[in-house]
């Protein structure tokens, strides 16, 4: 077999293999998306209808309380809760992550390595294992079923990760950059904002996305610590679609689409930063 032909076959095989793999990975997500736009009876039809016959936004209108058909699930409230909790906890985790990451990357202080290791070890505890102790403490201090309670939990979950990620990015910005800026007339604070922050912002953006998605998608802890429209988030709200004898698959899928879309938009928006962030090293003096 000649070289070019062989290469061509390998390329085609790789392409087919990748396609099949991506199909397996993406199919459930794709199916959820499709289901969200189809009426329940088509979803439940037997034999299954593979190619959608009706395709509309009725499910979305329904769960948001528009149109003729209405359901008794307060999706807008859940959506607001999710957004408030995820954005606030991400913002706090980023502020603390930037301060902590910068400190670990730049300063020497006693027990630095132990503290860092401790932070990383806290990541090894599965979130669900924390649910009981957190539940007990939260119930005593009245944080059960509050947005504040969820914000604190998610901030705490995210901080070790944001510190770790941002530390790595600041480490890769040579400290001479900040020194040069200081010699050039900057205060340490100005040197940070004008030189070090712009160079590490890809990493900070990645950390922010990861933190947001963690909070946005989290189910286990939220299912324990939330009760009502005061604090229930979208993933927990999904369970509202299961009644004793029925499951509203179409409505549930429509809500799943609502959950997925902000995450997708965010990821696409900052994709450039994310890739630059995850493959850092392009910045050289």
């Amino acid at each position: 077999m000649s070289g070019p032909l062989k290469r061509r076959i390998v390329a085609v095989a790789t392409w087919i293999g990748t396609f099949l793999l991506m199909l397996v990975i993406c199919l459930p997500g794709l199916w959820v998306m499709l289901t969200g736009f189809r009426p329940n009876r088509e979803v439940l039809a037997k034999p299954a209808i593979w190619i959608p016959e009706q395709f509309n936004l009725n499910n979305f209108a329904k769960i948001f309380g528009f149109g003729a058909e209405q359901i008794a699930i307060p999706v807008p409230a859940y959506f607001t809760n999710s957004l408030v909790i995820a954005l606030t906890s991400t913002a706090i985790a980023l502020i603390i992550g930037m301060s902590g990451g910068y400190a670990f990357a730049r300063f020497r202080f006693p027990f630095k390595d132990s503290i860092f290791l401790g932070l990383m070890l806290s990541r090894t505890v599965p979130g669900i294992a924390l649910s009981l102790p957190v539940f007990m403490i939260w119930s005593r201090i009245g944080l059960i079923d509050t947005k504040l309670g969820m914000i604190i939990v998610y901030t705490a979950l995210n901080i070790p990760f944001t510190i770790w990620l941002i530390d790595g990015f600041f480490r890769q910005v040579p400290k001479e950059m900040s020194e040069a800026a200081q010699v050039d007339g900057c205060t340490r604070w100005q040197a940070f904002w004008k030189v070090e922050f712009p160079l590490a912002k890809s990493g900070i953006a990645s950390a922010g996305i990861f933190a947001f998605l963690t909070s946005w998608n989290e189910y286990a802890l939220a299912s324990q610590l939330t009760r009502s429209t005061d604090s229930k988030t979208l993933p927990v709200g999904l369970m509202d679609f299961t009644a004793q004898f029925t499951i509203d698959w179409a409505g549930m899928s429509a809500m799943a689409v609502i959950i997925i879309i902000p995450a997708l938009i965010l990821t696409f928006l900052v994709q450039k930063h994310l890739i630059a962030g995850l493959t850092f090293g392009g910045v050289k003096g």
């Binding site: 040579p174 001479e176 160079l199």
Partner: protein, 363 residues
């Protein structure tokens, strides 16, 4: 006026003292090079002058001001870093103008100064590029440009050429020298390369292990090293240092060979003193192949182990006093390994150091 004065400056990291109370006065517009092997404290000293390291003890003055507690931005100095430390997210123009912009200078003034620096360093064509789009030499020039636009009291250079290839290094070295003659300012320059030190400096400061070993003009340091460390560090190839003992007017080498005590040092040594005989390869040449054969000369028959032809000269590896020694043959002919040649040792240029202290017997 922009003299820099270091008085008993000490630097400690925790309990480890790395710079031990050094004293140094650098005159207005002087080009001073701090040179020494890695770990000698030269970069730390420079960083203390810049304010990037706190000093543990002593005083640093720049001009008339005591700057011990001033942050770098208030010292009116500028610095060129080894890795250039250009801001990668800014164009060359923005890099050059950054310091002035921070100082809230007018747009017109920034433009004028940046243009002037670009003119001096030949950067005018590159103003809109980012550092990633520049070659090593161009980045180096931008780093220097960033230093000169602010018209500081002093330039500090921290091994600025060590990231460049050999050819570019020589080229940039001359550019730095030219720059200093154009932009008359006090310069403190750190390098581990003694050739850079010799070529650039008005005065060289040789450092070792956190101490200053010798301060002097390149000629003084080269011709009159105060100890064996300076003797071996300055000059390339390094000075031959052969253990010997003074016996009845002769310097007796370990292998039994002897040369007369150099006349100019005769009253500086005593009989029976253990010394180290120092002679640069340039002053140890085969008969008829030297450049300075006049004055007090000793001759020795030495066997050449290896000859390295460099073109205008040949390096001759031989044994002297039971040790490897290096001679030079100017206007060279082919020399075979194992050939015995009559070497002329120029004793006017020879040095004697005390064997125990390592200090020159002149002192």
């Amino acid at each position: 006026m922009s003299e820099i004065k270091l008085t008993n400056v000490v630097k400690r990291y925790g309990r480890v003292e790395v710079v031990h109370g050094i004293n140094l006065e650098i005159a207005h517009n002087e080009f001073v090079v701090l040179v020494g092997p890695s770990g000698c404290g030269k970069s730390t000293t420079l960083r203390m002058i810049a304010g990037l390291e706190e000093i543990s003890d002593g005083e640093i003055h720049i001009g008339d001001a005591l700057v011990n507690d001033l942050p770098p931005r208030k010292r009116n100095i500028s610095m060129v870093f080894q890795n250039y430390a250009l801001y990668p997210h800014m164009s060359v123009r923005e890099n050059l103008g950054f310091g002035l912009k921070i100082a809230k200078q007018s747009e017109a003034m920034i433009e004028e100064r940046v243009g002037e620096a670009a003119e001096i360093l030949g950067l005018s064509e590159l103003m809109d590029r980012t550092p990633a789009e520049l070659s090593g030499g161009q980045r180096q020039r931008v780093a220097m440009g960033r230093a000169i636009v602010r018209h500081p009291e002093a330039f500090l250079f921290d091994e600025p050429l060590s990231n460049l290839d050999a050819k570019l290094r020589v080229q940039m070295r001359t550019e730095i020298k030219k720059l200093h003659s154009k932009v008359k300012t006090t310069v403190v320059y750190v390098t581990h390369d003694q050739v850079e030190a010799m070529t650039l400096a008005d005065r060289i400061v040789v450092m070792k292990d956190g101490y200053i070993e010798q301060v002097g003009t390149p000629m003084e340091v080269f011709n009159h090293p105060v100890n064996t460390f300076v003797a071996s560090f300055i000059g390339s190839p390094p000075m031959n240092l052969i253990p010997a003992r003074v016996e009845s007017g002769k310097v007796k080498l370990a292998d039994g060979a002897s040369v007369p005590v150099p006349n100019r040092l005769a009253d500086k040594v005593r009989d029976g003193q253990d010394v180290i005989f120092g002679l640069r390869p340039d002053d140890m040449t085969p008969e008829g192949h030297g450049i300075n054969d006049t004055g007090q000369v000793a001759t020795l028959e030495l066997t050449v182990d290896l000859a390295e032809l460099l073109g205008t000269e040949t390096l001759l590896y031989t044994q002297l006093g039971g040790q490897d020694a290096l001679g030079k043959m100017f206007d060279p002919r082919d020399v075979a390994a194992g050939e015995t040649l009559r070497f002329r040792l120029s004793l006017d240029k020879a040095h004697l150091f005390d064997a125990t202290s390592g200090k020159s017997v002149r002192l």
